[in-house]
Symmetry: C2
Subunit: 449 residues, 2 copies
C-alpha cells in the first residue's frame, strides 16, 4: 500500500498545528481578568524516540489496551486559577495523577468516541467531528468539568491524527478509534467541582468488526440505565460502570448486550452503549416506520450515528424508489409490548443497534421475560442500505460534507541514534531503581515539572 496521499515531508506537526489552529481559533488574548482558553496554537510538540509497534493482525487487538495505543497523545492541563495550559503532543505514556484525584473517587469524567477512516482514495477522514466535540462540552458541563471551545478540541484531534495517521492507518478501508477524555485531577477529597482537570486525546487500534447479528437481553425491572433528572444523555463515566453488572449477566446467558428498558411501561431506550432502532409496519396505518426513542426525557444519548441514520433515512428512504418501499421516520416512545405485538402480527421487519464503536449491528433476537422476539429479517434491507450509505461517506466513496478530510504529516525520528540513547538511559535507571532513595527522589523531581 502506498503512503497516504496527504503526507508531505515539508510539513512538521507544529506547522500544521499552527496553520489549523490559526484558521479556526480566535485570537486568545489572555488578560488578568480572563482565564486562558483551550488554544491549539500554543501546542508543544515532543516526537517519540521509541516508536510503538503497529499490530498488523487486528484479530489480536484488545481495544484500547495500553499496547494498542498509537505513538503520541495530546494532553492539556486546566486549573480553576489559570484556565487551560498549553496543549502538549508527546509520546504516549502513563498518566500523572495523585491517588486523591477527583476522577478516581467521584467519577468527574467524560469522554467521546470517534473514528478516523482511511479512504479508498488514500485520504484520512473523520465523521461529523463537530457533533462529537459539541456533545463533549455538554457532558463536561453536566459533570462539572471546565468548558472549552469545541472547535479547539476538534483542531487538537486533527493535529494528533495528522501526526500518527500515516503510520497507524496504512490500509484503505481501515480505521482508528479516537478517545477524547476530560477528567478531574488534582488531589482533593472534598466533594466539590474539581479545581484541576486534564483533557487528553488518545488514538487506539480497534479489533476487527465481524458482521455478526446481535442477540439482546431486555433489562430486568430492578436494573435501569438512566432516569429523568439524571445524566443518561451525557457521555459521562457514571453511565457506563454501573451497567457492567447487567452486561455480565447478558453475556453469561448467551446474549451480546442488554436492551435497556425504562419505567414500568417497559419503554425501549438503548442497546448496550448504542442507540436502538426498529423497522416495523405501523399497526394502524400499515405504513413502514423506522422508529427510535426520542431525546426529550434526556435519558437517551444523542448519538452521532443515531442522528445520521435519522437524517439519511429522512433524505433517502421516505420516497419510494421503485426497489424499496418508502418509510416514515419516527422518534417516539415505544414499549416492549409494542415490539411483541409487532412480532406476533408479523409487522416487525428489522432491528439494529447504532453507535460509533460498533457501527450498525443487525439484531436477530430480543429476549424479554420468557419471550423471544425475532425481527423478520436478520440483515434487513433498510439496515443494509443505511449501513452502506454511511460507509461510503466515511471512506470517501461518496463525497459528503459529513466526512472531513484531515491533512497528514506523519513524524520522523532517527531510529538508531534515539534507540542507543534510550537504551543507555534505561541501563542507568535500572541501576538506580533498586536504591530506596530512587522513588522519593523521582517523586520530588517529577513534582518540579
Amino acid at each position: 500500500m502506498a503512503p497516504p496521499s496527504a503526507m508531505a515531508s515539508d510539513l512538521t506537526p507544529a506547522a500544521v498545528a499552527n496553520s489549523i489552529a490559526k484558521s479556526s481559533t480566535e485570537a486568545n488574548n489572555v488578560t488578568d481578568q480572563k482565564l486562558a482558553e483551550l488554544d491549539p496554537s500554543k501546542l508543544k510538540v515532543t516526537i517519540t524516540k521509541s516508536p510503538r509497534q503497529f499490530l498488523a493482525d487486528s484479530s489480536k487487538i484488545e481495544w484500547g489496551k495500553a499496547d494498542v495505543s498509537t505513538d503520541h497523545w495530546i494532553t492539556v492541563k486546566w486549573s480553576e486559577a489559570a484556565g487551560w495550559a498549553a496543549p502538549e503532543l508527546k509520546p504516549y505514556g502513563p498518566i500523572d495523577l495523585w491517588p486523591t484525584a477527583s476522577c478516581l473517587h467521584y467519577a468527574t469524567e467524560c469522554f467521546e468516541g470517534m473514528k478516523a477512516y482511511r479512504g479508498f482514495d488514500g485520504s484520512l477522514r473523520i465523521f461529523r467531528p463537530a457533533k462529537n466535540t459539541a456533545r463533549m462540552l455538554v457532558s463536561s458541563t453536566r459533570i462539572s468539568l471546565p468548558s472549552f471551545s469545541p472547535s479547539a478540541l476538534e483542531e487538537l484531534i486533527k493535529i494528533l491524527l495528522a501526526t500518527d495517521g500515516p503510520k497507524w492507518l496504512p490500509e484503505p478501508g481501515c480505521f482508528l478509534y479516537i478517545r477524547p477524555t476530560l477528567i478531574g485531577t488534582g488531589g482533593a477529597l472534598g466533594i466539590h467541582r474539581p479545581r484541576e482537570a486534564m483533557l487528553f486525546i488518545v488514538l487506539a487500534q480497534f479489533p476487527v468488526l465481524y458482521e455478526k447479528n446481535m442477540k439482546l437481553l431486555a433489562s430486568r425491572e430492578d436494573s435501569i440505565r438512566a432516569w429523568p433528572g439524571g445524566f443518561g444523555f451525557a457521555k459521562v463515566g457514571a453511565n457506563y460502570g454501573p451497567s457492567l453488572i447487567a452486561q455480565k449477566e447478558a453475556l453469561a446467558r448467551g446474549y451480546d448486550q442488554i436492551l435497556w428498558l425504562f419505567d414500568k411501561s417497559c419503554q425501549v431506550t438503548e442497546a448496550g452503549a448504542s442507540n436502538f432502532f426498529v423497522v416495523w409496519k405501523n399497526k394502524d396505518t400499515g405504513r413502514v416506520e423506522l422508529v427510535t426513542a426520542p431525546l426529550d426525557d434526556k435519558i437517551i444519548l444523542d448519538g452521532v450515528t443515531r442522528r445520521s441514520v435519522l437524517e439519511l433515512a429522512k433524505d433517502r428512504l421516505t420516497v419510494s424508489n421503485g426497489e424499496i418501499q418508502a418509510l416514515d421516520v419516527v422518534e417516539r416512545k415505544y414499549t416492549m409490548m409494542d415490539l411483541i405485538d409487532a412480532a406476533k402480527e408479523d409487522r416487525l421487519l428489522e432491528a439494529f443497534a447504532a453507535g460509533t464503536a460498533f457501527f450498525i449491528s443487525s439484531v436477530s433476537k430480543v429476549h424479554f421475560r420468557g419471550e423471544d422476539i425475532y425481527p423478520k429479517q436478520a440483515n434487513g434491507t433498510y439496515t443494509g442500505l443505511l449501513k452502506g450509505w454511511l460507509k461510503a461517506i466515511m471512506f470517501g466513496e461518496e463525497s459528503h460534507e459529513w466526512a472531513v478530510v484531515v491533512p497528514e504529516t506523519g513524524f520522523e525520528f532517527d531510529a538508531s541514534a534515539a534507540d542507543k540513547e534510550i537504551n543507555e538511559m534505561v541501563e542507568n535507571l535500572r541501576r538506580m531503581k533498586d536504591n530506596p532513595a530512587f522513588a522519593p527522589a523521582l517523586q520530588r523531581v517529577q513534582a518540579e515539572v
Copy 2:
C-alpha cells in the same frame, strides 16, 4: 502532648502487620485452581525516606489535597488472571495508571469514608470498621470490581494506621480521614468488567469541623440523585460527580447542601452526601418521632452514622428519663409536604444531617420552591444528645464495642543519611531529565515493575 501510649519501639510495622493478619485472616493456600485472595500477611513494607510535613494549623487544610496525605499509603493490585497481589505499604506518591484505564472512562470505582480518632486516653480508635469494609464489598460488586475479604481490608487499614498514627494523630480529640478506594485499572477501552484493578488506602488530614448550622436547598424536579434499579445505595463514584452541578447551585444561592428529593411526591432522601433525619411530633399520635428515609428502595446510602444514630436512639431515647421526652424511632418514606405541614403546625422540632465526613450537623433551614422551613430548635436537644454519645464512644470516653482500638508502632527513619542519599539522587535525576531519552527510558523501566 505525650506520644500515644500504644507506641512501642520494638514493634515494626511488618511485625504488627504479620500479627494482626495472622490473628484474623485464614491461611491462603493458592493453588492452580484458586486465585490469590487479599492477604495482609503478604505485606511488603517500604518506609519513607522523605517524610511529609504535618500541617499543625488545621484551618489551612484542604481535605485530601495531595499535600495533606500522610507519609504512607497501601496499594494492592488485582488481575483477573492472578487475583490479589501482595499488598504494599510504601511512601505516598503518584498513582501508576494508563490513560485508557477503565476508571478514567467508565467510573469503575468505589470508596469508603472512615475516620481514626485519637482518644483522650491516648489510644487510637476506629468506629465500626466492619460496617465500612462490608459496604465496600457491596459497592465493589455493584460496580463490577473484584471481591475481597472485608476483614482483610480492615486489617490493612489497621496496619496503615499503626504506621502513620503516632505522627499524624498527635493530639487527643483529633482525627484523621481514612479513604479506602478500589478502581478499575489496566488499559482497555472496550466496555467490560475491568480485567485489572487496584485497591488503595490513603490517610488524610481533615479541616476543622466548625459547629455550624446547615441551610439546605431542596433539589429541583429535574435533578435526581438516585433511582430504584440504580446504585444510590452504593458508595460508587457515579453517585457523586453528577451531583456537583446541583451542589454548585446551592452554594451560589447561599445554601450549604442540596436536600435530595425523589419522585413527584417529593420524598425526602439525603442531604448532600449525608443521611437526613428529622425529629417531629406525629400528626396523629402527637408522639415525638425520629424519622429518616428507609433503605428498601435502594436509593439511600446505608450510612454507618445513620445506623448508629438509629441504634443509639432506640437504645437510649425510647424511654423517658425524666429530663427528656421519649421518642419513637421510625424508618419510613416522608415527603416535603409532610415537613411543611409539621413546620406550619409547630411540630417540626429538629433536623440534622449525619455522615462520617461531617459527622452530625444541625439543619436550621430548608428551602423548597419558594417556601422556607425552619425546625423549632437549631441545635436541638435530641441532636445534641446523639452527637455527644457518639463522640464519647469515638474518643474513648465511653467504652463501647463500636470503637476498636488500633495498636500503633509508628515508623523510624534515619533523617540525615536518607536525606543525603535522596538529595544526591535528585541531582542525578535533574541532570538526566532534560535528555529527551529520559521520558521513554523511564517509561520502559517503570513498565518492568
